[in-house]
């Protein structure tokens, strides 16, 4: 029984970690290459979820919803970068934080005006609504799909960043933007492409998590904080760091919440365990971040060594 619980929670941790990776990948490159703090990254995730949910409701097809979310957020991401964000690159971090915080407020109000204050319902495709048998345990097929898609996207990003010429430019830009420019790389165009890609990944995460979580105003803020924890742990500007950091945070958070109260019951009274367990579980990822920063102040795989 305990083994089944652990396997199930490991899979949940993997799924959560991979979805975090989709957000953290874009965020870490934006921060790493342009030294730009974009608090509105979570709003792209929310936007993807809303666009996908609305298109799914209108068309009755999850795939059409997914396509609408990806294309829509790619265009919105491009527009946002070209019209607004590129004016902020030369500004200090405080200006960037203030401007992108304003974007969060605008995005939240826009979502409320268009879709109302109530959460939108987004159901998983019918064919994936049941469980599948996996290593002798029954596991939701939709969650398994999220893991498969997450792994596929992580593999694709790994290939793109690690084995293509554009990926070399991205890594070079993340490590030393000025030198990359002095070698002929148009970092602005590169960044526009990265920002659009980041928006698409956010939309994918929003759409995939939509059926598991509520599609509602403000959904981007909570996950944004976790995404920042991930990139600090992984090392700013590093895709490999984002992947490892995401999986660590996903696993520690999920396993902590599921198993810590049970473990505490073995060393203390059930009453104390019931109170302390959830509270302690919720701070585990921050303890993890503090531990990583203590031993590796620039994160596990910093782009700028």
């Amino acid at each position: 029984m305990m083994t089944q619980l652990i396997i199930e929670q490991l899979l949940n941790g993997l799924q959560f970690g991979l979805m975090l990776f989709l957000l953290a990948a874009g965020l870490t490159l934006v921060f790493g290459i342009m030294d730009m703090i974009n608090l509105s990254h979570g709003s792209l995730y929310m936007g993807g979820a809303y666009l996908g949910a609305a298109a799914t409701q209108a068309s009755g097809s999850f795939l059409v919803g997914l396509l609408a979310a990806l294309v829509g957020m790619a265009l919105i991401g491009l527009l946002l970068e070209v019209v607004l964000l590129r004016r902020l690159y030369q500004r200090d971090h405080l200006s960037q934080v203030l401007a992108t915080f304003a974007l969060i407020l605008i995005a939240n109000e826009l979502a409320r005006m268009i879709w109302g204050p109530q959460p939108l319902m987004l159901n998983a495709p019918e064919v994936l609504s049941g469980p599948v048998d996996l290593f002798g345990i029954s596991y939701p097929a939709y969650r398994l799909l999220i893991i498969v898609v997450g792994l596929a996207v992580a593999g694709l990003l790994y290939w793109l960043v690690g084995h293509t010429r554009a990926g070399m430019w991205v890594r070079a830009g993340a490590s030393n933007r000025e030198m990359a420019q002095a070698l002929g790389i148009d970092v602005r165009k590169l960044f526009t492409g990265i920002f659009a890609l980041g928006a698409v990944l956010c939309a994918l995460a929003g759409m995939l998590l939509g059926p598991l979580l509520a599609v509602q105003v403000g959904m981007g803020e909570d996950i944004l904080i976790l995404a920042f924890v991930v990139i600090v742990i992984g090392g700013i500007g590093s895709i490999r760091g984002a992947l490892v950091g995401s999986l660590l945070v996903g696993m520690v958070d999920t396993l902590g919440r599921a198993l810590l109260p049970t473990l505490l019951r073995t060393i203390t009274s059930p009453d104390i365990a019931a109170h302390v367990g959830p509270a302690l579980a919720s701070v585990l990822i921050y303890l993890l971040m503090a531990a990583v920063l203590f031993w590796r102040p620039t994160g596990l795989f910093p782009a700028r060594a």
Binding site: R165, M168, A172, Q181, A182, L183, G184, D186
Partner: protein
């Protein structure tokens, strides 16, 4: 050997600085195709700022920089690099997260339209040590290997003008000599080069003409023979 044709780059009345602090006051410099020129001076006199302005990394306050007939003074660094100026920067600045081979592939271009362009394979033949380390990351190399990589990386862009800023600084004598050997070979191949370095005796052997900068102004310009003949200049302006 050296072909003295029209100026490849003409710098006129260049002024530049950082914020309110002006570093360059009136820099005039011409380098012709196939020439090797040097920029000399004590530390903090404006040599690196001049090079940064030529590469678009520091925006000039006044003056013009004409390169291949274009005024490049207000252009972005990546545009200038694509016209054919390559920098081997002070401190080498290799990318810690790219392998040696990736450094030589990522920025490769034939900007000077050379018949036998520099490729990763040609760089490996030029610097055999790098071939052995081609799968190592930039931060896993020794200082000398990093310097060879920084030169190789610039060469794979096949530039019209190669600029080296303190390329031999901090290197062991044997590695330094290796870098000089490479610069000699590049000169023989007709590569136009601007060098900043402290080893004046070696620069006299390598270069055609020299410019000495002091406090952001040019205080002396002349040929290798003229510089070699007047050690008073070395003492007065270079502290040697």
């Amino acid at each position: 050997m050296t072909q003295l044709i029209s100026p490849l780059i003409e710098v006129t009345g260049l002024q530049a600085g950082y914020g309110s602090s002006q570093v360059l006051f009136d820099i005039n410099l011409n380098i012709r195709q196939g020439e090797v020129a040097t920029l000399l001076g004590r530390n903090g006199m404006g040599k690196t700022t001049t090079v940064r302005a030529l590469c678009g990394l520091t925006r000039p306050n006044a003056g013009s920089i004409r390169f291949l007939g274009h005024d490049i003074a207000a252009k972005p660094a990546d545009w200038i690099a694509r016209q054919g100026i390559a920098l081997v920067p002070e401190g080498r600045q290799v990318f810690p997260n790219l392998t040696v081979l990736e450094h030589l592939i990522a920025f490769a271009a034939n900007r000077a339209q050379q018949a036998d362009p520099w490729t990763a394979a040609k760089v490996f033949a030029f610097f055999p040590q790098l071939a052995e380390r081609q799968h190592h990351l930039g931060n896993q190399l020794s200082g000398g290997e990093q310097q060879m990589l920084a030169i190789g990386r610039a060469l794979t862009t096949n530039p019209h003008l190669l600029i080296l800023d303190e390329a031999t600084e901090g290197l062991a004598p044997i590695i330094r000599e290796e870098i000089w050997r490479c610069l000699d070979a590049l000169r023989q191949s007709g590569q136009t080069i601007l060098v900043i370095d402290k080893y004046v005796e070696r620069l006299i052997q390598l270069a055609d003409h020299h410019t000495i900068v002091e406090k952001g102004r040019i205080v002396w310009q002349g040929s290798s023979a003229e510089l070699d003949a007047d050690h008073g200049i070395w003492h007065r302006y270079l502290g040697i």
